[in-house]
């Protein structure tokens, strides 16, 4: 897994330390702390993991082992409009794969990556539990149900004008 080189600001380090403290710096709270950290930074770059490791007194390797185990955690920054395509069974049998292919084709990025302008990123989700609306696509917090390949362009268009 590659990572982005970035230097944490002192205030950000303090913020992380505060998060760890709010969980009593307990090693068992690692996953909760990582959730919070990802909420703050949007992703979990190496240096965030280093700070978390030292605050909870666990090894960095262990933190990395946990981060890479769970698909909810990401070490890559997501686009401003993260697109998540549900590939759960219900969505699959109702054509999610074709919808996904259409997104990949239009944005010219593979799953898990972000467009060069940092605007969109594509990820796959396992069932958001809205199977009645299959296939389902989420852009940020907004959910689109019963998406067709034709509808993909329209969804992207909604975000096109925003700078």
């Amino acid at each position: 897994m590659t990572s982005i080189k970035l230097k944490l600001k002192e205030s950000e380090v303090q913020q992380l330390k505060e998060v760890a403290r709010s969980f009593d710096n307990k090693p068992g709270e690692l996953i909760n702390v990582l959730h919070k950290a990802q909420e703050i930074f949007g992703y979990l770059p190496a240096e965030v993991q280093e700070v978390v490791a030292s605050e909870l007194n666990v090894s960095v390797a262990k933190v990395y082992g946990v981060v890479t185990f769970y698909s909810f955690f990401t070490m890559l920054p997501r686009g401003r409009y993260p697109i998540s395509i549900c590939t759960g069974t219900a969505c699959y049998v109702r054509g999610a794969e074709k919808v996904l292919d259409e997104f990949k084709r239009l944005l010219k990025v593979p799953v898990g990556e972000t467009t060069a302008d940092g605007k969109f990123s594509i990820t796959c989700l396992r069932c958001v539990g809205a199977c009645g609306l299959a296939p389902v696509v989420m852009v940020g917090d907004k959910t689109y149900g019963r998406v067709t390949t034709d509808g993909v362009k329209g969804i992207l268009k909604e975000y096109e004008d925003e700078v």
Binding site: K26, P27, G28, E29, L30, I31, N32, L34, H35, L56, V58, G65, V66, F69, Y70, S71, F72, F73, T87, G88, T89, A90, Y92, V93, R94, K98, D101, R105, L125, R126, C127, V128, G129, A130, C131, G132, A134, T149
Partner: protein, 566 residues
Amino acid sequence: MNAQDLQDEVQVVTTGCFGFCEKGPIVKVIPDNTFYVSVEPGDAGEIIAEHAIKGRRVDRLLYVDPTNKQQIADSRGMGFYKKQIRIALRNCGLIDPENIDEYLAADGYEAMGRVFAEMSPEEAIQEMIDSGLRGRGGGGFPAGIKWQIASKVEADQKYVVCNADEGDPGAFMDRSILEGDPHSVLEAMVINGYCIGATKGLIYIRAEYPLAINRLKIAIGQARDYGLLGKDILGSGFDFDVEIRYGAGAFVCGEETALIHSMEGERGEPTFKPPFPAQSGYLGKPTNVNNVETFANVPVIFNKGAKWFAGIGTEKSKGTKVFALAGKINNVGLIEVPMGITLREVIFEIGGGIKDGKKFKAVQTGGPSGGCLTEKHLDTPIDFDNLLSAGSMMGSGGMIVMDEDDCMVAVAKFYLDFTVEESCGKCSPCRIGNKRLYELLDNITKGQADKEDLENMRNLCGVIRDSSLCGLGQTSPNPVLSTMDNFMDEYIAHVEEDRCPSGVCKDLIRYEIIPENCVGCTACARNCPVNCIAGERKQLHVIDQSLCIKCNACFEKCKFNAVAII
């Protein structure tokens, strides 16, 4: 109606599917709920004349109960409406989940009060055992026995864990319960704590369920404010409180030992059992793990009695089961049916049949751990043991319906893709075996496999099932084995004829234009993303096979059935 000048008094409205398609068309007259079945246009006049004007029922068109041959007029008395019984979902869609008062008004926390006042932990556990409730998370282990084991282990601290890491793709029962009736789970956890001597409860919930998390938090806060959680609950001297822990996107964490490791901040890798969590679980302490739906049944068992509960369902599977009905079915939704109902009733009556009038092919139950059941299983009563012997399993309750357009090899591959991605990697058969199984399936869908590979695959399935560490690996070959058992012809077509009978596997199909049907509208050519369709307006179009990426766009666009999948 208009002809009879009744438009002001009688309204004709279309409604959603009544879920009773075998007897359609159906007409229901409100306010008296009279339900007419198999109505033909000629009958409509009679209904209007007799029922709407004179207030007399047209007996001829009433539904006849198949068991006692009596005509039933009121739809609520009809057998079909008895098919669903809402126990776990009793409050979902009825009460405001963010208002504890509504739960209290619906007998909420009464079971807890009753247990505290009238029962010893042993008696309460006995009640659970007598109810016959089996774990709804998939395995079907008797919940009461589980509680009993945990209660008998001596420890200074014990834990109650609610498994809300619903990970089966296509399943959303637990989410719906937590979003619709969070207190029922909290109440059950307190009862569980009282029974086994635990004072701490943990709910392990997927981070992907923000709404459920939020409603749980509200519910916990309200229950604390009302003294229904915390110290000395209802003056019983019993303390119990609940915390929320978050999953982070790992299906394997539905396995209880993996779930416990995840709650401890570790990689969610399962460990060999024994020791069972009841002996050594969270932080090494005795821990009882049940899933959301199991807990949601508990208050009802104490309110209505074990006997009442055990009166529902089959001999070995008591009560009801919630299913998330999805896929190629008309009434996609959440249903709760008594154990013992048949798949036919679920799919064709409650589910309203197959979408777009297509032919039913298979229904997948139990998610990636389950199997595909077919026509021949439609009349099998659904319970834990029957599904197992049919080569599938109850699982947590996902039910995905497939029609004639679904390729069963591709479906098996889809599930294996899921398993490969979700395998934790700890044991070799699951880590490498499932990968190889996926690759074999992939080869089949590409026409690169032969009959020998099928045998190889069957052996591999057996070994993965026989020697994997946890439930995930032990059940992962089920989608392959059940499709091989039931749809061997499709496998054979792929390996021997390089043909995908359902026209799904891209490498085995090609798109061709049928000259007789093509009118030269250019719709296909204009929508082809790789411009591989040539042809002038009003001329026959031709697809360049060497460039075609099989995106299906031409097929979808053609209004004249001139594009065929061969």
